[in-house]
């Protein structure tokens, strides 16, 4: 069994919640959203995930409530199936196999046995709206091949299709024209914006469309921020439209309220605008929603709205425009500069989040814990603005200190650089800004590391910069007689022949500091800051640098840009071994000597795990990802695993997570790719699967057992007897717990007293005394001890006892 274990990559959380419009349940209690290959069901009140609907084998692209049964949900996926779910229990009811990639799903109450979907059949970028007839059949899997064509040459996004006025017509927009298809007449009207060729109206493109629920009115959103309300579109000539203009940039989504009295719109201003009575004057705003609004949806009951945002967040909003709940996933719409870190306190994954924030993300619950505002400035979202970027971050001293670096570079010479040091405050359970250092270096900071030695008396931080210096910062006492304070000051500035400092790293015990200057590695004594020795391999600039740990602490590893991995022995000051490996990511495991390196080749990324003491890797996995791996990190396990196979032992104490260059920034490409689109993968042994199976078995056992225990009259008696006549809980507890163990003894114990009870019951039918509580307990004790005691009692004593048997407590013995 051990030999069968294999290691596989598992995608782990961080999936997009904002890919499609979220859907409310009919009673507004639940909200559904697509999330990678799954559909997630959240409670609108508690923000908790209630169910995850597993089943699709590819990206889920659309969800709709079943118009005929509000407790069912349709979902469609790129794997070519439409599935019907019971969302309350999280059960898959039916699968309809369509056979071609489905890009969106629409349901109309009037079209009883068919749904509408966007498919692309022939060419990759020509999309069609089709009606799919869902055959009625009792089997689980049904083929639904009966497609009838509705509209051609439409936009792929479901935002560009809307069904209006109880399914009488469907409106679709693409580029500069709006087409309306009438189901009864089976005709299509097409309206082109007349001035689309004009330069002034160059940004006239349609972006989204929505239909009034009761009237013949279509609202369309445009690139330039205008909203047009179209009426009279039955006639190709006499149609009219009115303009609403508030948004300064593209209208991302539109939605009518259930009654149709107000129109909701949102865009990159992150302001939800409610247009009342479709007039420009009556508008209400809900500002400061945090990020670009991508989708808006309205609950069928009409009491809630929800907005999906570009930072992977869903905000549930009350009818009176008050935000009531936030469902936040992993934010990943921007490039990750800081890399992956593990907060030593919460064991949360830490990386760039919202602009100017660090996000703390729980890997176990796939949930963002909180955001730490680092830059603390108003975020202005405007095209072409150069923002302040959070470029580096590091935790130190067991999570007591956090160092962050932010920079903004407008021109080559104008660099704004700021380093901030945050102290963990136990009272507030959060990080508090301690020291702000303006321009810590003249040029960009390339590396940042704390000395994490256990016995270091003074927190020490090292920054390496392109300006050719590395600086050592120490925590100093800044207190006087008035107040106590600590602050960071520069302790030492080092350089090596004006080369750019590229990496820095402390040894495990904190006695040595390694700083790489382009091709050269320098070793410094961390007490006197003397240069101890230099290593140079002339194999290109050093890209990664790290010390070995535990038994391998005498080794220093360096990966160069020319694809050479070097290992130096610090005792002999000589090269121990080197290997040709184009290392992209090199991460040491905090719990062992192992080091993971991910190399990049034209085919994909390969993972190597090795000990610095020997050049032969412990484990190799080829092709863990087709894309380039950007960052990786070892995450310590809460409960150590016990892999016996030597190749997998490196996973015993930690798991390895990595982040690929996400395709999220290019949505078109993502749709084509069959790869899982979420960027997190983690490697686990197949062992885990076995364990899951085992767990399932045990669960089944419990399921079998559970009805048994429920059937036992004793338990039902226990549950139904009023609490005030029960023996003390302390007395019952151990028996009750023992009963749940389902061992042979309890079974026998159960059987034997039952017989006894039966006899006793027969005997005690005529007795009608009040019971004393304490005596009762004694009595039950007696029965619990065994039947022979009772048999040994004399007849008079038996009669005495029978007095207490008015209410039969013998069931306690059955426990």
């Amino acid at each position: 069994m051990v030999d069968e274990e294999t290691i596989r990559v598992v995608r782990c959380g961080g999936s997009e919640l904002n890919f499609r419009r979220a859907v409310f349940s009919a009673d507004s209690k639940y909200i559904f959203c697509v999330s990678g290959d799954f559909v997630k069901v959240y409670s609108t009140v508690t923000e908790e995930c209630v169910h995850i609907l597993h089943g699709h084998r590819n990206l889920v692209t659309g969800i709709q409530l079943n118009p005929n049964n509000h407790l069912q949900l349709y979902s469609c996926s790129l794997d070519g199936t439409i599935k019907l779910w019971d969302y309350i229990d999280g059960i898959l009811i039916k699968t309809f196999i369509v056979g071609c990639k489905l890009h969106a799903l629409f349901t109309v109450a009037q079209a009883e046995d068919s749904v509408f979907a966007i498919v692309n059949k022939e060419k990759p970028d020509i999309f069609q709206l089709v009606s799919v007839k869902l055959p009625k059949s009792s089997s689980q899997e049904v083929e639904a091949k009966e497609l009838s064509f509705v509209l051609d040459y439409i936009n792929q996004s479901p935002k560009c299709i809307a069904f209006g006025n109880e399914g009488v017509y469907v409106a679709a927009v693409r580029e500069f024209y709006l087409s309306v298809y009438f189901f009864k007449k089976k005709t299509t009207s097409r309206f082109t914006l007349s001035s689309s060729r004009n330069k002034k109206h160059a940004k006239n493109n349609f972006t989204c469309v929505a239909c009034h629920p009761t009237e013949d009115c279509i609202a369309s959103g445009h690139m330039d921020g205008k909203i047009r309300l179209w009426r009279n579109f039955y006639d190709d000539k006499k149609y009219t439209y009115t303009c609403l203009h508030w948004h300064h940039d593209m209208v991302m989504d539109l939605a009518f309220s259930v009654t149709g009295t107000s129109l909701l719109s949102g865009g990159c201003e992150s302001v939800l605008v409610e247009w009342r009575d479709a007039t420009e004057k009556n508008k209400e705003f809900l500002p400061r929603l945090g990020a670009t609004i991508e989708h808006i949806s309205v609950s069928p009951a009409g009491d809630l709205f929800c907005t999906s945002h570009s930072d992977n967040k869903i905000i549930i909003i009350h009818r009176n425009l008050e935000a009531s709940a936030v469902i936040q996933g992993l934010v990943k719409d921007r490039s990750i500069f800081t890399g992956l870190m593990i907060d030593p306190r919460t064991k949360a994954l830490v990386l760039n989040g919202k602009p100017g924030h660090l996000q703390f993300y729980s890997l176990q619950s796939d949930k963002q814990l909180y955001n730490l505002d680092i830059i603390q400035q108003e975020y202005i979202n405007d095209y072409g603005l150069i923002q302040i970027e959070l470029t580096k971050a590091a935790f130190g001293c067991f999570g007591n200190w956090l160092a962050t670096v932010e920079q903004r570079q407008e021109k080559e010479t104008e660099l704004e650089l700021q380093m901030k040091l945050w102290m963990y405050n136990k009272k507030t359970q959060g990080f508090i800004l301690n020291t702000k250092i303006n321009m810590p270096h003249e040029d960009c900071i390339t590396a940042l590391c704390f000395c994490n030695a256990e016995k270091s008396e003074q927190p020490t931080l090292v920054t390496a910069s392109k300006d050719g210096y590395f600086k050592v910062w120490i925590l100093t006492d800044d207190s006087d007689i008035y107040k106590k304070a600590v602050g960071w000051t520069c302790d030492f500035v080092g350089s090596y022949h004006k080369y750019q400092a590229t990496n820095c790293c402390f040894s495990e015990d904190g006695s040595l500091l390694a700083v790489s200057f382009e091709e050269i590695v320098t070793i410094w004594d961390s007490v006197t800051w003397e240069l101890k020795c230099t290593f140079c391999q002339r194999a290109g600039k050093i890209r990664h640098l790290c010390f070995g740990r535990l038994t391998c602490s005498k080794y220093l590893l360096g990966a160069t840009e020319n694809g050479i991995l070097c290992c130096w022995n610090l005792l002999s000051c000589a090269l121990e071994w080197n290997a040709k490996l184009n290392v992209r990511v090199m991460e040491p495991d905090p719990n062992s000597e192992n080091i993971a390196a991910i190399s990049q080749s034209s085919v994909g990324s390969d993972l190597f795990v090795f000990k610095p003491s020997e050049p032969r890797p412990l484990y190799i996995q080829k092709g863990i990802s087709r894309e380039e791996v950007q960052w990786g990190v070892f995450v310590p396990r809460d409960v150590p695993e016990s892999f016996t196979s030597e190749a997998y032992q490196w996973l015993n104490r930690s798991q390895f997570y990595f982040l690929t260059k996400s395709q999220v920034t290019a949505p078109l490409k993502k749709a084509e790719e069959s790869l899982p689109t979420t960027p997190f993968y983690f490697i686990l042994g197949k062992h885990r699967q076995h364990q899951d199976e085992k767990l399932n078995e045990t669960l089944e056992n419990e399921l079998v057992q559970l009805p048994l225990t429920e059937n036992i009259p004793a338990v039902s008696e226990l549950l139904h007897t009023p609490a005030h006549v029960l023996p003390s809980a302390a007395f019952l507890c151990s028996m009750f717990v023992n009963s749940l163990l389902l061992s042979k003894e309890t079974k026998s114990a159960k059987e034997i007293p039952e017989d006894v009870d039966m006899e006793e019951e027969k005997e005690s039918e005529d007795s009608d005394e009040e019971n004393d509580f304490i005596e009762k307990v004694q009595d039950t004790n007696n029965t619990g001890l065994g039947e022979d005691i009772i048999h040994q009692l004399s007849k008079s004593e038996e009669k005495e006892l029978r007095k207490f048997r008015k209410i039969d407590y013998s069931w306690i013995a059955a426990l």
Binding site: R288, L289, G290, A323, D373, Q376, Q377, E378, I380, D382, G384, L385, I386, I388, R408, E410, E414, E416, N438, M439, D480, I481, Y482, T489, C490, D491, F492, V493, G494, S495, W529, E530, L531
Partner: protein, 488 residues
């Protein structure tokens, strides 16, 4: 939902002395009145407010060394052979350097260069006791404020002794290590402070004369000691021309006064109202505290009563009530309010107001930086008339050369030149501001000088490197942060 985040105002470290409540307190003295006093054989009594001698005693044949007031204000003086106005105590064979009244006001303690300490009775001018335990000049002494029988003397034989009039001998002796120039007892009598050499030492009397702390903050002999009226601060004057103020809880220096000459004596008046220092150049410096009543004389604007602020806040929730909390309104500065509503020109106008530019130029610079970050600096600077643009230019010219503001302001200056270049020559005022060649030249000269200095320092370091290779790094480490400080 996060609210508006105010603009981060760049703060700069204030160089020089740190401002604490102590520096504020002790700096609050008016400039000193200096008297040229030739006090060889006279005693002057100066008026509290008039700063003029109101009484003079000049009936001494020899130099008068010391004088002291009794607690009830009656005056008594003596000299080795002078005639006393009230009493005259004769008995010392050499110069008397210290006298003090004991706590019961009927006795006087004196110490003299004849190594003796004597206790005198005032009513009948008789010598009661003589202690001959010191082996050198007795130069200082003080009597306990609590116990009429206890007094302390310090001597040039390096010891401080405590005498009890009831026992005829010293009850305690501590070794100071240097000739003792001054001693002081805390009002509680538990702590003894002695000064001698460069040291000020504090002794715990209740622990039998254990050394509590030894202070070495002067670099010349400490000559005099004094306690502030609250007992929270200890002052010491020294020949190094400084008076230092210590906190009596942590014994750290919290403030320091500089004087023109070496200090021989020092005294603080009641409630620290006056600090008087006598110096070796024969000058008596008297500093009065500024009265704090002046500040209160400014009529305060009537503010709303306290109850208006707590109105409704202390309402206790009843059983069926639903409490709706209104979120607390965050206070925003005026420029932040403008920026919040994207009124960029108005925000810039606000911070270019002279009251802001003179007092807090960093706010102005931070707003300019913020506008630049938002990409609207050119919009905010454009479309200004002669008066407004001259405001901007004046500010730029004044602060352009300051290294901490330069990166932001140079950028702003370039934008202004770009915008207003077509209209140059239409206004003489603005044209004059544009002609900033003098400022530029000054700055260039300054930079050249700095470069020269840097070159010289490099040369020095290079020569040191030849001598010993390792020490160089340490020097760069010292030099670099200082350089940074100058630049920032």
């Amino acid at each position: 939902m996060a609210g508006y985040k105010p603009v981060a105002i760049q703060t700069y470290p204030i160089l020089g002395e740190k401002i604490t409540q102590d520096t504020l307190y002790w700096n609050n003295y008016k400039p000193p009145y200096n008297y040229a006093v030739t006090a060889s054989s006279r005693i002057h009594i100066y008026g509290r407010y008039s700063q003029e001698p109101i009484k003079t005693f000049s009936r001494f044949k020899y130099t008068a060394y010391c004088a002291t007031f009794r607690q009830d204000g009656r005056f008594s003086t003596f000299d080795i052979s002078g005639r006393a106005p009230l009493r005259q105590f004769e008995g010392h064979t050499k110069a008397v350097h210290t006298v003090d009244f004991t706590a019961d006001k009927y006795h006087v303690v004196s110490g003299a260069d004849d190594y003796t300490v004597k206790l005198w009775d005032i009513p009948n001018s008789k010598e009661i006791l003589t202690f001959k335990e010191h082996s050198d000049y007795v130069r200082c002494g003080c009597a306990s404020k609590l116990n009429p029988d206890l007094f302390i003397t310090g001597s040039y034989d390096h010891t401080v002794k405590m005498f009890d009039a009831r026992t005829n001998t010293s009850v305690l002796s501590v070794e100071h290590g240097q000739p003792v120039e001054s001693v002081l007892l805390f009002p509680s009598g538990g702590l003894l402070v002695s000064a001698g050499g460069r040291y000020v030492k504090v002794w715990d009397m209740l622990k039998g004369g254990q050394l509590l702390v030894s202070l070495k903050n002067h670099h010349k002999t400490v000559t005099c000691l004094c306690l502030s009226s609250s007992g929270q601060r200890l002052l010491s004057g020294s020949l190094d021309r400084k008076v230092k103020v210590y906190s009596t809880t942590s014994y750290k220096v919290v403030h320091s006064f500089d004087y023109a000459a070496s200090i021989l004596s020092l005294a603080l008046a009641h409630e620290d109202e006056t600090i008087v220092v006598g110096m070796t150049n024969g000058i008596l410096s008297v500093k009065h505290r500024k009265s704090e009543a002046k500040k209160e004389s400014i009529p305060r604007r009537r503010r709303p009563a306290y109850r208006t602020f707590i109105k409704g806040k202390n309402y206790m929730k009843q059983r069926d009530d639903i409490l709706i909390n209104r979120p607390a309104k965050k206070h925003l500065e005026l420029y932040d309010r403008d920026l919040k509503h994207f009124r960029i020109s108005k925000a810039l106008d606000r911070v270019l107001d002279p009251t802001c530019t003179i007092k807090t130029p960093e706010i102005t610079v931070s707003i300019i930086k913020e506008l630049n970050r938002r990409g609207v600096l050119a919009n905010a600077l454009a479309g200004r008339d002669e008066k407004e643009i001259s405001h901007v230019l004046n500010f730029l010219i004044r602060h352009l050369s300051q290294p901490r503001f330069a990166p932001v302001l140079i950028n702003a200056a370039e934008i202004i030149i770009d915008i207003y270049l077509p209209v140059i020559g239409q206004s003489p005022v603005v044209d004059k501001s544009f002609a900033t060649s003098r400022t530029c030249r000054k700055e260039i000269d300054y930079q050249r000088e700095l470069l020269e200095t840097l070159g010289m320092m490099d040369m020095l370091f290079a020569t040191m490197r030849r001598k010993e290779g390792t020490s160089v790094l340490e020097h760069t480490s010292d030099g670099f942060p200082e350089n940074k400080k100058i630049e920032s």
